[in-house]
């Protein structure tokens, strides 16, 4: 599918923020050596979530930072996917975004009717059809064949990060705000862009993987 053109985005007051989100996503290189980023970016994300869902996490979340490559990614993915109970994405973030959009009366169809022309355009975020409007993919599919045995885990992680990008944009559109301040997904996307990958294990513990491919074992 033709990519969404961030420069052509036009969605009212949120335009510069949505453009910045898409530009950051486009500049993000996945699973390359990590880069410096402000150290408390995950804490900023957790605090922004707490502002909307006060009991989402424990009063203090222990955040551990570790360096690692494909082996570490695979192991952390297996750990999160194998756990039952707390679910950061499905249990916290998605319900939070749903409630936020609902409270503001925002829907994809209303957005498409307000901001998109009848003819498809490169900057469209949605494809309207019947009484629905469907999100377009916000970035290209990435092939992680080079990840060896971690290919599936990498695709899984990247897929959920794409959901975070979608949630970030939906949040901003529903807010109708020019500034990204307070958008709970903005710090998260900045972490991804720096090659730092969070895994929230439960309500009180999180691990940030600083990606270092050279630390991979045999693969």
């Amino acid at each position: 599918m033709d990519p969404i053109d961030p420069d052509a985005i036009a969605c009212g007051p949120a335009t510069p923020a949505v453009r910045a989100l898409l530009q950051l996503a486009a500049a993000t290189r996945w699973f390359e050596p990590s880069a410096p980023v402000e150290p408390s970016w995950l804490e900023a994300h957790l605090a922004a979530v707490r502002a909307h869902v006060p009991d989402a996490f424990a009063a203090r979340v222990e955040v551990t930072h570790e360096g690692g490559g494909w082996d570490a990614l695979e192991a952390l993915a297996a750990r999160v996917r194998g756990s039952r109970g707390f679910d950061w994405k499905f249990g916290v973030l998605k319900p939070m975004v749903r409630e936020h959009s609902r409270a503001r009366g925002w829907t994809p169809l209303a957005h498409a009717r307000a901001f998109q022309a009848a003819e498809p355009a490169p900057a469209d975020l949605f494809v309207p059809l019947n009484e629905h409007a469907f999100w377009r993919p916000l970035g290209p599919r990435v092939d992680f064949r080079h990840a060896g045995s971690a290919r599936e885990a990498a695709g899984w992680y990247h897929g959920f990060a794409h959901v975070d990008l979608t949630d970030a944009i939906e949040w901003q559109l529903a807010e109708g705000a020019e500034s990204l301040e307070g958008n709970p997904f903005w710090p998260l996307l900045r972490g991804y862009a720096a090659g730092q990958y969070p895994f929230v294990l439960d309500a009180a513990r999180a691990v940030v993987l600083r990606f270092e491919p050279r630390l991979t074992g045999s693969s």
Partner: protein, 77 residues
């Protein structure tokens, strides 16, 4: 998700709008704030999962399940 969609179209006349309704309903009732993506919009619209790349599309012989350019079968049971 395809199984849940198929359960919702059982006994109905094959129709893309019906498939669309069933798919969106299946996603909404299974995944919190789940989304159906327009994986492709040209030359034909493919609606489905971004993670798996599997979607449904309208074809000359009905509604089909596809992954990229590969046809995986018909949607109607």
């Amino acid at each position: 998700m395809l199984a849940a969609t198929r359960r919702r179209i059982e006994g109905t006349r094959e129709d893309f709008a019906e498939a669309l309704r069933a798919l969106t309903d299946a996603v909404a009732s299974t995944i919190p704030h789940g989304r159906v993506y327009a994986i492709e919009r040209s030359p034909r619209i493919v609606l489905g999962s971004l993670v798996s790349g599997v979607g449904i599309a309208e074809a000359a012989d009905g509604v089909v399940v596809v992954r990229g350019s590969e046809r995986l079968g018909r949607l109607w049971p």
